[in-house]
């Protein structure tokens, strides 16, 4: 049998440590969501949204969901802020 396909026992983090990590990231996410809503200036809000996307990706990783992490990391931190900034640039150009 191919030794590369040998079965290993998975390493699981001690339960207390995983709990602490999840609680910390959840608190940060609650604070991050509040920050994104409270910031009224759109350009600054987009920066906050990008950081919020990275925090969400860390949370999904702590919830043992690597696929969702990959999607959220790219979409929430790159594609969505890019679309928002392009819209803001278009709107601002007309106001000039």
């Amino acid at each position: 049998m191919n030794p590369a396909l040998a079965v290993v026992t998975p390493y699981t983090v001690p339960a207390g440590l995983m709990d602490a990590l999840q609680v910390t990231v959840l608190v940060l996410i609650a604070a991050g969501a509040t920050a994104v809503v409270v910031i009224r200036e759109p350009v600054r809000q987009v920066i906050a949204l990008s950081a919020y996307g990275v925090l969400l990706a860390v949370l999904f990783l702590a919830f043992q969901a690597p696929d969702v992490t990959l999607s959220e990391l790219t979409v929430g931190s790159v594609v969505l802020p890019m679309l928002l900034l392009l819209t803001l640039a278009k709107v601002r150009r007309r106001e000039k």
């Binding site: 040998a6 998975p10 609650a30 994104v36 759109p42 979409v75």
Partner: protein, 114 residues
Amino acid sequence: MHVFPFVVVAWILVVGLYGIVTSRHLVHQIVCLIVVQSSTYVLLLGVGYRTGAVAPYFFDIPGRTPAVDPVVQALALTDVVVEAAVTALLLAFAVQAHKRFGTLDPQELVQLKG
């Protein structure tokens, strides 16, 4: 810890809705909608989590290892990508609204006719 993630979900939902209701800029409203959508991802993944379990990929671990629920992960995965595209459609509407009416204030847009 038994209900804490779900309480955070409720908080994010209410905060996002508050941002949408009291917003004065269309793009700010759209970003608050993104925050509301993110609360559903957290809810989905929180429902499917099992303490002490690993991610459901059995490439090199025995097939009987307790793993988290893969169905909710599949739902959340397609959710993230598709809602980004729908947000792009909303942004296109915002651009056209600005072209036609000259303002991006939702409380003024309501009063304009035609």
